[in-house]
Subunit: 507 residues, 2 copies
């Protein structure tokens, strides 16, 4: 008896949920609703179609598509073939996509109708790469790739936790993307850690308005299959549509980033000022970076159950999450590490004392084993088995994490650390400010100084001389944190998951 082998293989998650809850909603996409039995059938049919296209175990299959039921079917189909999912960011240019496809040595590109144009452009550049178009999701027609016949191949019924589920490209904040390895074990342990923290009810439903090609979206699909709960998939984020979905679709959980949540509140106010959500919504999981304080306060006023989380692609989404019971007691904190995760905050290689910032290190079964085909970058990312996240934070006396910023975005001004997120949060607390981004600018005297880019709300009466806003910020921030300049601009640059891209601010 080999214990480790015993704990390595699990029954296929989707198949098990389909066996236990065949009629329960698995995934809903607009008007299309698939039960677990439907999704299970779709996954197997799609797997056989992919086999017809030559997909074999270990192949890297790129998926370029918007959020939909069919997207979910392809994800599970690849599992049944033992093939590796490479989810592509639909907002990238064909040039960027070609770079990733070459780098990962993809053998097939699966795309939907919305991505037909970039797929064609890619085809011109990578003429050897096979392509397959997904059918539109329609009713219970669970055939993903049109009328293509399925090959008679054996599909896997066990999931190997040590196997690679996906290779997901991430830039970090600095430069060249690299493919982070996501194993099934990472997904499993993440789902388990999440459920032990957030709880689990059989009638839970998770709203996914984050792109499924990011870890925050993909991990929702895995939780759905593992828990046997439904996912309400939105093709894109639209605040009013999401608000309606929260009221009408029996949603109990939603994952968002701060800018989304802010827009959802604005959309609520447009209908009924100060309103909130039905009590069935028991968890608004807020990730994607430090949240502005005023937003958290506003949610508390409306009894919106926000819990902050901290995670990254390399930690398979949530690594540290506030417990729902701590939301009001620890505002601004990302909470404590999920059960399987170990966390350290180090300064000069030593654990930082409570309250003192340092770099965040993570270890445990939800942490990536590394970057595909990049042993050097993998080695650089780890120290003694701990992932160096590049994020700065501190632990309070009770071990709760407060994330300050990305180390790469940190501004050092006259020897003082200025955390852009903190300055942005003050600017955002002004009622006329819709978006704010802060970054460092070289300065002969101070080394760096913070400067701010602000996007005002429609109808703002704020003076664009900046004096008025600087005076407001000056009452709330130490002098060295005060932006040296404020530029009033249009909407700020964000990545596909809505995160501010600070290094693009100056461009």
């Amino acid at each position: 008896m080999d214990r480790i082998e015993n704990a390595r293989f699990l029954p296929d998650w989707l198949a098990r949920s389909a066996g236990s809850f065949p009629q329960r909603l698995a995934v809903q996409d607009g008007q299309t609703r698939w039960s677990f039995a439907d999704l299970d059938r779709a996954a197997s049919r799609t797997a056989r179609q992919l086999a017809t296209l030559g997909v074999q175990a270990g192949d890297r299959v790129a998926l370029l598509a918007g959020n939909s039921c069919t997207y979910v079917a392809v994800v599970h189909a690849l599992t049944r073939l033992g093939a590796i999912l490479v989810p592509l960011n639909a907002r990238l240019t064909p040039g960027e996509l070609c770079w990733q496809l070459r780098d990962v040595r993809a053998t097939l590109l699966v795309h939907d109708a919305r991505c037909a144009a970039p797929a064609t452009a890619i085809g011109r550049e990578l003429s050897d790469l096979r392509r397959a178009a997904l059918a539109e999701t329609a009713g219970n027609n669970t055939t993903a790739i049109g009328a293509l016949p399925g090959a008679d191949v054996a599909l896997r019924s066990l999931i190997d936790l040590d196997a690679i589920q996906a290779i997901m490209y991430t830039s970090g904040t600095t430069g060249q993307p690299k493919g982070a390895i996501i194993t099934y074990g990472m997904q499993w342990w993440n789902a388990v850690g999440s459920v032990l923290n957030l709880g689990h009810a059989p009638d839970d439903r998770w709203l996914a308005c984050l792109p499924l090609f990011h870890i925050g979206g993909l991990s929702i699909l895995m939780r759905s299959a593992i828990y046997g709960i439904g996912v309400i998939v939105h093709e894109r984020f639209d605040a009013a549509t999401v608000n309606r979905s929260l009221r009408e679709d029996g949603v109990t959980m939603i994952s968002v980033v701060a800018v989304m949540l802010k827009r959802m509140l604005d959309a609520l106010d447009a209908e009924q000022p100060g309103s909130g959500y039905p009590p069935a919504l028991r968890c608004v999981l807020l990730g994607g970076g430090p949240a502005p304080y005023p937003l958290l306060e506003e949610c508390a006023r409306r009894a919106i159950p926000v819990v902050q989380t901290y995670g990254l692609t390399e930690s398979c989404s949530q690594a540290v999450t506030l417990a729902p019971g701590d939301a009001l007691r620890k505002p601004g904190s990302a909470g404590r590490p999920l059960m399987p995760v170990q966390l350290r905050v180090l300064r000069d290689g030593q654990p930082a004392p409570a309250g003192e910032p340092g770099e965040i290190y993570l270890r445990g079964p939800t942490i990536t084993p590394g970057y595909a085909d990049r042993p050097e970058e993998t080695a650089r990312a780890f120290r003694d088995g701990w992932l160096a996240t590049g994020d700065i934070g501190y632990l309070d006396g009770e071990g709760y994490l407060y994330v300050l910023d990305r180390r790469a975005d940190l501004i050092i001004s006259g020897g003082e650390n200025v955390y852009p997120a903190e300055v942005e949060s003050v600017l955002l607390s002004h009622p006329d400010v819709a978006e704010a981004g802060v970054c460092g600018q070289p300065d002969a005297q101070w080394g760096q100084v913070p400067i701010a880019y602000v996007h005002l709300r429609d109808g703002s009466t704020l003076s664009t001389s900046a004096d008025e806003l600087l005076a407001y910020a000056g009452q709330r921030l130490a002098r060295y944190k005060l932006p040296r300049a404020i530029y009033f601009v249009g909407p700020l640059p964000r990545n596909a998951s809505g995160k501010l891209v600070r290094r693009a601010l100056r461009e």
Copy 2:
């Protein structure tokens, strides 16, 4: 980066819950209530006291005590020392206990005041075995072993899932008890499988009226530490007391066997006929063998949320459990395997068709790696990595398990396993007994009771009133194993290879 190592060590469960929920109730025993901070402190103090007594990593420490807060402290203390718990069945005779203590090579016997008499008797026979008496639980006095000072030793902060938590004696089908290995991984995966099936809420509370020395009780303690939920520990099962606790102690989950549940309903009727429990009680987990149909129907009438479960010591309690949503649709079924468990019903080595009985086989991370120090018995128990349970059952068309007989000849009396071969071997040890056969007889109160058929040697002078032989057996067997009746008969029915055919005894 070694993935497997990464998924092998978890933060100490109790310490983590104490960090996250210091003030939340961890364990309550009568009037004593310990928060997670209290229990955490008690576990560390007790660990240091055990170290003073010489306990080291890998030592096998026997615990002979009734259910109490202190029992829980000792369980977690052993974890922090890396020592192995050997929970003894307080209903066994001193002779039976000495056999187990010798067999397991225990280095220390920890006992409470209630078990002082058997501990003294054991001390007379095993004079080399050190003994330690537990203090009575009182208020927040979290020192388990009186005023004994604690040694200054390093306590473990990580749990190795591959390490042995406990060795738990079970008789299997063949009389002689053997120590089943229970690893931390088995407990962890069981807790995870349970939560994915039964759900999890932070304010859950589990009532433990099963003995903590059985796997059904011990696994509740592990779930409590892993989930961060409270356990209401009852020293012994008393139906009216349990009913009061269900009404007054915020209990949401309870584990019972059928005979307990029946008495609880009777006690309810004595107060108010036909009454049930508060809606907060969301799960009555019913194990310990097939449940009588009328009992399930009666619970359904009273809206008592019963879910049946099937498991054994070797599967770390639940292996197969009904989903709460299926309770009314699948009465009599033990449900589907918990997520990490694989299940097969085999007849003549082949999967039995739906509806056809066969032997139940189990595989997965909640299944024991084997029996301590018994490689041959371990090898016999497994086939290709699958545990042969010896239990008979069938799967319906939807994959739901119906257990027919908990091992062909096993007698379950009041939730306790009575193994015919063990009772027979005691009877056979009497010089006048030539043959002995034991089987179960239906009993309104206990479900089943053992009865014996004995063929005396020629020239026996034994009184055939049975009193004399019963007195002999009573000195060697726990009370619940004692045959209710002994019939003196001619030669017993045997098959061609000379094996006793127990099912033919009553004919």
